[in-house]
C-alpha cells in the first residue's frame, strides 16, 4: 500500500474514533397508525418527488443521515416500489408526474400506505394555482398520513415514520 493510501486508512480510523456516536437520542414517536399494525416494526420506503422544490428531499435525506438515524427504528429506503410498504410523496403533484405517481402506487404490493410530506403535498402550499400543478397528493392517490411544514423538520419526518413502525 502506498504511503498516501495507508495515511488515508489511518486518518479514517482516527476520524471514526473522534466522531464516536453522532446519532442523537430519539424524540417522541408519532401517533400509531392502525393501518400499519401488520408491518410489525419493518417499513420499507419508496420516495417519489411529484414536483417539490427539493427542500423536502433535503430534510428526508437528513432523517436517514447518521444524526437522525431513522434506520434504527426499522425504516429502510428501497430502490423499487415493488419492495416498498410505504410511499413518501413530496411536492404538489404536477400534471406530468400525476400518472407516474399513480403507476408507482399501483406497482406496490398490498397492503400499501402513502405518507404526504410537506405543505405542498397537503394543499399545494406556495405552488397552489400554478399552471402546471394538478393538485395535492390526495387528489391522485389515497393518503394515510401527513407531515406538515415547509419544509418539515427531520424530527417530524422521523416521528411520522416511527408511527408506522411502532418503535
Amino acid at each position: 500500500m502506498s504511503g498516501r493510501a495507508s495515511g488515508v486508512g489511518v486518518g479514517l480510523i482516527r476520524k471514526i474514533r473522534s466522531a464516536g456516536r453522532v446519532a442523537e437520542p430519539a424524540g417522541d414517536r408519532g401517533e400509531r397508525l392502525p393501518q400499519a399494525a401488520g408491518l410489525a416494526g419493518s417499513v420499507q420506503v419508496r420516495h417519489v418527488d411529484a414536483g417539490s422544490c427539493n427542500g423536502c428531499e433535503i430534510e428526508i435525506g437528513q432523517a436517514f443521515s447518521p444524526v437522525y438515524d431513522i434506520e434504527r427504528y426499522g425504516v429502510r429506503l428501497v430502490a423499487s416500489p415493488r419492495h416498498a410498504d410505504v410511499l413518501t410523496v413530496t411536492g404538489p403533484v404536477t400534471v406530468n408526474m400525476a400518472s407516474a405517481l399513480r403507476k408507482a402506487y399501483e406497482a406496490m404490493p398490498e397492503p400499501r400506505l402513502v405518507v404526504a410530506i410537506g405543505d405542498c403535498a397537503k394543499d399545494c402550499g406556495v405552488f397552489a394555482g400554478g399552471h402546471g400543478v394538478a393538485g395535492p397528493v390526495s387528489d391522485v392517490v389515497p393518503v394515510d398520513a401527513q407531515v406538515p411544514g415547509c419544509p418539515p423538520e427531520p424530527d417530524a419526518i422521523v416521528a411520522a415514520l416511527r408511527g408506522l413502525t411502532g418503535r
Binding site: 453522532v22 429502510r76 423499487s80 397492503p111
Partner: protein, 312 residues
C-alpha cells in the same frame, strides 16, 4: 445422531442464522459511521413481513420469474444441508466441490433468467453483469479449493475439512494463503459485496444483484433475499472451514456437534463483521475494472494450485 438428522439441523441452523449474519454486516458499518443502527434481527423482521405480503408479477413474466426464488432457495438449502459446516463427516457424498459450485451457479443462473424475464431494461442489464461476474468467479472458486484438494486427494469438501482439522501439516502449505485470498475475493464477488457490487445502492445504473430483483415483491422477494443471505453464510462458512477448520465436529457425537455449531456461528459472524468493516475503507470498483480484480484472484488461485502440486 444419524447423518440425515445432522443434515436437516445444519440446513435449519444456516437458514435461521443467515438473516442475522446480514444484520451483522449492516450493524458494523452503521456503528463505524456513528449511527445507532438497526437491530441485528431487523433482517428477520423484514423477511417475516415480506412473507405475509402478496407477491405481484410483471405483466410479461413467465415461469422463469416465478420459479427463480424457489430454485435459489432450494439449491442454497441443499448446499447448507450437505456442506461441511458444523460436521465434516463424509457420510453422504453430496458435498463434492464441483456439485457445490454447480448448485450455487444454478441459483445464479435462475435469478439471471428471471431478471431477463421481467422485460425491463434494468433486469436485463443486471442479468448480463451477473453472468460476466459468474463466468469469472466460478473457475476461481474451483481453483482455490483445488489447491487444498490436491493435498488431500479428494474433491469432497467434507474430507478436505476433516483432513485440515485432524492433520493440518499435510493439508496446509504457504500456498494455502494464496488460495485463501483467491477464495475471499471470489466470495466477495459471488455474494455481491463491495468492491464488486453494492448491496445498499439505490442507483439502478450501478446495480448487479439488486437490478435483477427490482420486480420481485412480497413472498417472492422474501425468498430471494433469504436465499441471498443463505449464500453469504454458506460462502463465508466454506471460507472459514476450509482454511481454519478448527472446531468442526468430525464425529456425530451430539456434544461435538453442539460445539461445532457454536464455533461455526462465531466464525461466520466474525468474518461478516470483518468483511463489512473492510467495506468502510473501500469504494465500489468501476464495472470495467471488476474483471481485472477477478482475473487477479483467478491468477492467485492458479499459483496456489501450481505451488501445492509442486510442493506435494
Amino acid at each position: 445422531m444419524t447423518p440425515w438428522l445432522v443434515a436437516v439441523a445444519q440446513a435449519a441452523l444456516l437458514a435461521l442464522a443467515a438473516p442475522l449474519v446480514v444484520g451483522v454486516t449492516r450493524a458494523v458499518p452503521a456503528r463505524l459511521a456513528g449511527r445507532a443502527g438497526g437491530r441485528i434481527a431487523q433482517p428477520w423482521r423484514d423477511l417475516c413481513k415480506q412473507l405475509r405480503k402478496q407477491p405481484t408479477s410483471p405483466a410479461d413474466a413467465s415461469m422463469f420469474f416465478v420459479a427463480a426464488p424457489a430454485v435459489m432457495m432450494a439449491t442454497s438449502l441443499i448446499v447448507a444441508a450437505t456442506g461441511p459446516f458444523i460436521a465434516a463427516t463424509s457420510l453422504f457424498g453430496g458435498a463434492d466441490l464441483i456439485v457445490v459450485v454447480g448448485l450455487l451457479l444454478l441459483g445464479t443462473v435462475a435469478l439471471a433468467l428471471a431478471g431477463l424475464d421481467t422485460g425491463t431494461a434494468f433486469g436485463g442489464m443486471g442479468a448480463s453483469r451477473a453472468m460476466v461476474i459468474a463466468a469469472l468467479v466460478e473457475p476461481t472458486l474451483l481453483l482455490a479449493v483445488f489447491a487444498l484438494s490436491f493435498r488431500v486427494g479428494s474433491t469432497d469438501l467434507s474430507r478436505i475439512v476433516a483432513a485440515g482439522a485432524t492433520e493440518p501439516a499435510r493439508v496446509f502449505t504457504p500456498a494455502s494463503l494464496l488460495a485463501a485470498a483467491a477464495l475471499a475475493i471470489a466470495t466477495l464477488a459471488e455474494t455481491g459485496r463491495i468492491p464488486v457490487d453494492n448491496p445498499a445502492t439505490h442507483l439502478e445504473l450501478t446495480m448487479v444483484h439488486e437490478a435483477m430483483v427490482l420486480e420481485y415483491s412480497g413472498r417472492d422477494l422474501a425468498l430471494v433475499e433469504w436465499a441471498a443471505a443463505l449464500r453469504l453464510s454458506i460462502l463465508l462458512g466454506l471460507l472459514a472451514n476450509l482454511f481454519a477448520p478448527w472446531g468442526v465436529a468430525t464425529s456425530l457425537d451430539p456434544m461435538w456437534l453442539a460445539v461445532g455449531a457454536a464455533v461455526f456461528i462465531g466464525k461466520v459472524c466474525g468474518l461478516a463483521a470483518l468483511l463489512s468493516a473492510g467495506e468502510v475503507w473501500t469504494a465500489k470498483l468501476r464495472l470495467f475494472r471488476v474483471p481485472e480484480l477477478l482475473a487477479g484472484s483467478f491468477f492467485l488461485g492458479l499459483l496456489a494450485v501450481l505451488a501445492s502440486a509442486i510442493l506435494a
